[in-house]
């Protein structure tokens, strides 16, 4: 009984902190992005990809909190959320797609810059037109694992703080997909929220020099 209460309380704390701190971190990253644009006159694509990735995650965190802890979300949205090509799966797929795009940008593989985005949009159109969604899960797993591995590889090779931060963030968020133990997944949520706060405040700097892009 006490264990159940502890777990549900931990779940609420994890979801609430996720719904509060990740949007705040996104706002901080957005401000940095705009400041950078003001100074240089153009968007820093790597900052933009990181911001979009966090924005995507913020929206998901807010909806998840509202869905699990409040009666505010109508049932049809709940259905849309958990469908095969629903909001949750699409959101994770967008994040791994952005992860791959980030790798291609950092490594300056120009021909591949938009390839992950084209592949994902193609899959989305295929689903809208034919109802075929069998590739989404496989794509998410393959692209997710590939993007995490490449992000670590790129981060160590280029000594890039952004890539390393995203790699750690992706590892934590992506691992939740495969963990069924409630306690472990709540602890992971709290730890990635803590990491996001540290990262967005610019305190995570294992490498002193920034990579110019």
């Amino acid at each position: 009984m006490a264990e159940d209460f502890f777990l549900s309380s931990l779940g609420i704390v994890a979801n609430l902190s996720s719904a509060i701190f990740i949007p705040i971190a996104t706002l901080i990253l957005g401000r940095k992005l705009l400041k950078d644009k003001k100074e240089t006159g153009k968007y820093n694509i790597i900052r933009l990809i990181i911001f979009l990735s966090f924005l995507n995650f913020s929206i998901l965190a807010i909806i998840e909190f509202l869905l699990k802890n409040t009666p505010l979300i109508p049932p049809f949205i709940e259905e849309l959320y958990s469908a095969e090509f629903g909001f949750y799966n699409t959101s994770v797929a967008i994040r791994v797609t952005l992860g791959l795009t980030l790798i291609f940008y950092i490594n300056r593989w120009e021909i591949l810059h938009f390839s992950a985005i084209f592949f994902f949009i193609g899959m989305l159109f295929l689903y809208l037109f034919t109802g075929f969604s069998a590739w989404l899960e496989n794509y998410t797993i393959i692209a997710g694992v590939a993007s995490i591995l490449f992000l670590y590889f790129t981060a160590f090779r280029m000594k890039d703080n952004g890539a390393l931060s995203i790699a750690i963030f992706f590892t934590l968020t992506f691992s939740i997909q495969f963990i069924s133990e409630a306690l472990v997944s709540e602890i992971i949520i709290i730890s990635y929220v803590a990491f996001v706060v540290i990262f967005s405040l610019g305190l995570f700097r294992p490498y002193k020099q920034e990579v110019n892009t």
Binding site: I111, F118, L126
Partner: protein
């Protein structure tokens, strides 16, 4: 009898295509312009499909053989041609970031055709590729006074227009007209006869005025 007529028209189209390839390659040897080699590759790809068409008229080949679902061999050839056409466009516009787009678009459209037997997505794609390419090439060609770009633009435009009628006679006739437009582009016709050389005109006008002034 109609088949012989189509065969003759296809042979005319093929011969003009060969002439275009030879002209562009000859010019490429002289000025090493990368656009010429890209045009040669594209026209060569068009000629490969023309050879298939000639074989159809000669030996009664059936390219509407189903591979899976609603996907036929003819449609795969169409996708290959559109992929080359789009790649050609992105190459000319120097957009390497978009090089993978035609492959994914063709792949998903082909796979969609396997799942759902509808030609609507293929037609929309074909229209976007043909008219989009034609628009950009003619616009760029006019701006830079490049006859070859105008020729290619007209080729895509007329070729695309012909495809929309879905009538064999019209398709082949439009294809021949399209190839003539391209051939003229490779031979410098548009630079010579279509674009007005402003400097040259002003020179002539200047000489005229000078002569009149001297007379007076």
């Amino acid at each position: 009898m109609a088949e012989i007529g189509f065969l003759f028209m296809e042979l005319v189209y093929f011969t003009m295509g060969l002439m275009t390839v030879f002209t562009t390659l000859k010019q490429w040897k002289i000025n090493k312009n990368r656009m010429l080699i890209a045009v040669s590759i594209y026209v060569a790809a068009v000629l490969v499909t023309s050879i298939i068409d000639i074989s159809i008229y000669l030996f009664d080949f059936d390219i509407d053989i189903l591979i899976a679902g609603g996907l036929t061999i003819g449609m795969i050839l169409g996708f290959i041609l559109f992929t080359i056409q789009l790649e050609f466009m992105f190459y000319l516009k120097d957009l390497p970031k978009l090089y993978t787009l035609p492959f994914f678009a063709s792949f998903y459209l082909a796979f969609g055709k396997v799942l759902v037997d509808s030609t609507i997505p293929f037609i929309i794609y074909a229209m976007i590729v043909s008219y989009g390419s034609a628009y950009f090439l003619i616009k760029d060609g006019r701006k830079s006074r490049n006859g070859l770009a105008i020729g290619m633009g007209l080729f895509f435009l007329i070729w695309g227009l012909g495809q929309t009628f879905q009538l064999e006679t019209i398709i082949i006739s439009f294809r021949i007209v399209a190839m003539v437009a391209l051939l003229l582009g490779t031979r410098g016709f548009y630079e010579k006869y279509v674009f007005v050389n402003v400097e040259e005109e002003q020179k002539i006008m200047g000489t005229w005025i000078a002569k009149l002034v001297v007379k007076e």
